[in-house]
Point group: C2
Chain length 121, copies 2
């Protein structure tokens, strides 16, 4: 029941590709992440995933299309759809994610970037 300032929360961490939980919403987590470079192809079999871009431009590759998302834009990746997030111009992107608590970071893929325990800030 407190307003959450996103800039203030972003200032609390520097790790990239490491979502931090900031709130709960209907059995989902609201998370913030800083990302740069390329992630890994994966999907979430049962969970839709919302990307809200706060800073920078994210490129979301799907197997048959590519989308660009900037500040003031959002993208829903539907359950079961393979996707590869990467950043444009190799600049850091700040984003807010909303997805069910059951969501695994890289789906069924295990990768050196995979995070299992997420911090709450």
């Amino acid at each position: 029941m407190k307003s959450i300032n996103l800039s203030e929360k972003f200032s609390q961490f520097t790790e990239q590709w490491s979502p931090h939980i900031i709130a709960d919403l209907n059995d989902q987590y609201i998370k913030l992440a800083k990302v740069q470079g390329e992630f890994v192809w994966h999907d979430h079999a049962n969970e839709d995933e919302l990307f809200v871009i706060i800073k920078g431009t994210l490129i979301m590759e799907f197997r048959n299309r590519i989308e660009e998302i900037g500040p003031g834009e959002i993208l829903v990746v539907p359950k079961g759809v393979e996707h590869l997030p990467r950043t444009k111009n190799n600049e850091e992107v700040q984003l807010m994610l909303i997805e069910p608590k059951s969501t695994k970071h890289t789906g069924k893929v295990n990768h050196e970037l995979t995070k299992v325990e997420l911090k709450r800030i």
Copy 2:
């Protein structure tokens, strides 16, 4: 799987206190609303409700506290908590809402501002 530009969606309607659906997310709707003035005290018994402020400042009254939320800030109203949204300085506020599809606009309260059928844009 398309990025959604919030400004472009806001340009598609002028009605206030009338959320418009822009996407689906895990049995929830993502909605945009323009609001000005004061709404009505209500709660949602089973649904958490996320407010993301895009433009302007929203004042959220609870029975025992008041929160202000501006651009770059978010607020989760937990299920069952009575709240009264109103705008600061009587300026229009643009916001994004995320809540379960089952959520009724004014909870169990019927009011002249209550919307039953929401448009999808």
